[in-house]
């Protein structure tokens, strides 16, 4: 009766490991096999999976990597501290300064610049300018630039150009005289 009760209980981790490693006393081993033979699909799967994992570990004969090889791999990458600007930019929260979608353009300007959407963000003291064009439903192509404060022209200023065209990044392939002024907001 005792053995039958024991054989009815599902196997815990210790029992599974002891069974696979042949550490069980004879009576306990028989109870486990009786349980597995009922059959108990859950425990059979557990024994199978545990056995497989043990085989993987025992068969792992990978060796330590020679120090010289590791040294060559380490030399393949030199962290670039000058990427800090990008890192700072990526880590910060940008403040939206301008969104062309929110500022209706005169028809003449729209014909000149197309349907691209232009955005400008302030990121700490730097500026991020992005131009996006709709490719298809739900898919945009975007290009942009990150302008550190020190690289901006001292003569630039924020605000609409005298022609009425909004400030924004210079469209690719177009000269600034086509209605957009390259500038940045401080």
């Amino acid at each position: 009766m005792k053995r039958s009760r024991a054989a009815g209980r599902h196997l815990d981790s210790a029992a599974v490991l002891d069974y696979l490693e042949q550490r069980l006393p004879e009576r306990r081993r028989q109870a486990v096999e009786e349980h597995l033979g009922r059959p108990c699909a859950q425990c059979r799967e557990r024994v199978r999976e545990t056995g497989r994992l043990l085989d993987l570990m025992r068969a792992d004969r990978s060796v330590e990597v020679p120090a010289e090889l590791r040294r060559r791999a380490l030399e393949a990458f030199v962290p670039r501290r000058s990427a800090g600007l990008v890192g700072r930019a990526a880590a910060g929260l940008a403040r939206l300064l301008f969104d062309s979608a929110l500022q209706p353009l005169p028809a003449a300007v729209r014909r000149a610049v197309g349907e691209a959407r232009r955005l400008r963000f302030a990121l700490d003291s730097d500026t991020v300018e992005v131009e996006c064009e709709l490719e298809s439903a739900g898919s945009w192509t975007c290009a942009g630039s990150l302008r550190p404060r020190r690289l901006r022209s001292p003569a630039s200023s924020c605000g609409p150009a005298p022609s009425g065209a909004p400030p924004g990044p210079t469209p690719r392939g177009r000269s600034p005289s086509r209605g957009f002024r390259r500038g940045a907001c401080g």
């Binding site: 210790a14 010289e68 380490l74």
Partner: protein, 240 residues
């Protein structure tokens, strides 16, 4: 009990974090990444029975390819599959090249043909098995130290030490070793299960960026910078 993110302290996204840290220029991140995967690269490379010099070149080329591909690997949950498949391609190409050189060095066309016919092909390894073993080691590395030492001693040492010696090494009473072993093993299973979850990306291979690229279908996906409406851009996966 396994939570959604695996056992406490286990981070299935460790590789992704290290890639991010590398890209930010954090010292130590690259070394941590190399140390996590160097054993797998070495094991796959060795399975092709390359010379020491060729093995060293393969090793370096794989990590150089990883450096090159870092910007596209930000979302990789684990790099095990990428590392294994890249190493396999580079090692196989090297082994084939050496085989051809050896055959062609015969001088006589008939002899060269005979050498090519007789030469054993690149042996390679059971790549899937090596990947699984690498994942087990990653999971093991994240366990508490006592579990790591216990399971390493029991299942990686050959022969495994007797319980008496283990008890002395770990400072654990002999009678506690069995239950401790079981608890540690459960933690290992839980960590492995987390690594293997499909949504963690472990079954989605990221293609290598090495010039030695495979044409094998079905083993890798294509990762591109995908531009989505409403956002600037974000990484994504297309194709399979």
């Amino acid at each position: 009990m396994r939570g959604k993110s695996g056992p406490r302290g286990f981070d299935p996204e460790q590789d992704a974090r290290l890639v991010g840290l590398c890209l930010r220029g954090e010292p130590g991140a690259w070394e941590a990444l190399v140390r996590r995967h160097e054993r797998l690269v070495y094991a796959v490379g060795r399975s092709y029975r390359l010379s020491d010099a060729d093995l060293a070149d393969v090793f370096q080329e794989v990590f150089a390819a990883l450096v090159k591909g870092l910007p596209r690997l930000r979302d990789a949950r684990t790099l095990v599959r990428w590392v294994a498949s890249t190493t396999e391609r580079v090692a196989r190409a090297t082994a084939l090249r050496r085989r051809r050189e050896w055959a062609l060095s015969a001088g006589d066309p008939h002899e060269a043909a005979a050498r090519l016919a007789s030469a054993e092909g690149p042996v390679g390894a059971d790549l899937e098995r090596l990947e699984e073993q690498a994942m087990v080691r990653l999971a093991l590395a994240a366990l508490p130290e006592r579990c790591r030492r216990l399971l390493s001693a029991l299942y990686y040492e050959d022969p495994p030490p007797p319980y008496g010696e283990l008890s002395r090494r770990l400072g654990v009473p002999v009678g506690s070793l069995g239950p401790t072993r079981a608890r540690c093993f459960e933690k290992l299973r839980a960590a492995l299960a987390t690594l293997r979850e499909p949504e963690r990306g472990i079954t989605r291979a990221v293609p290598p960026t090495s010039s030695v690229e495979s044409q094998e279908p079905g083993r890798s996906g294509v990762r591109t910078a995908r531009r989505r409406s409403g956002g600037l851009w974000s990484g994504g996966m297309e194709g399979a």
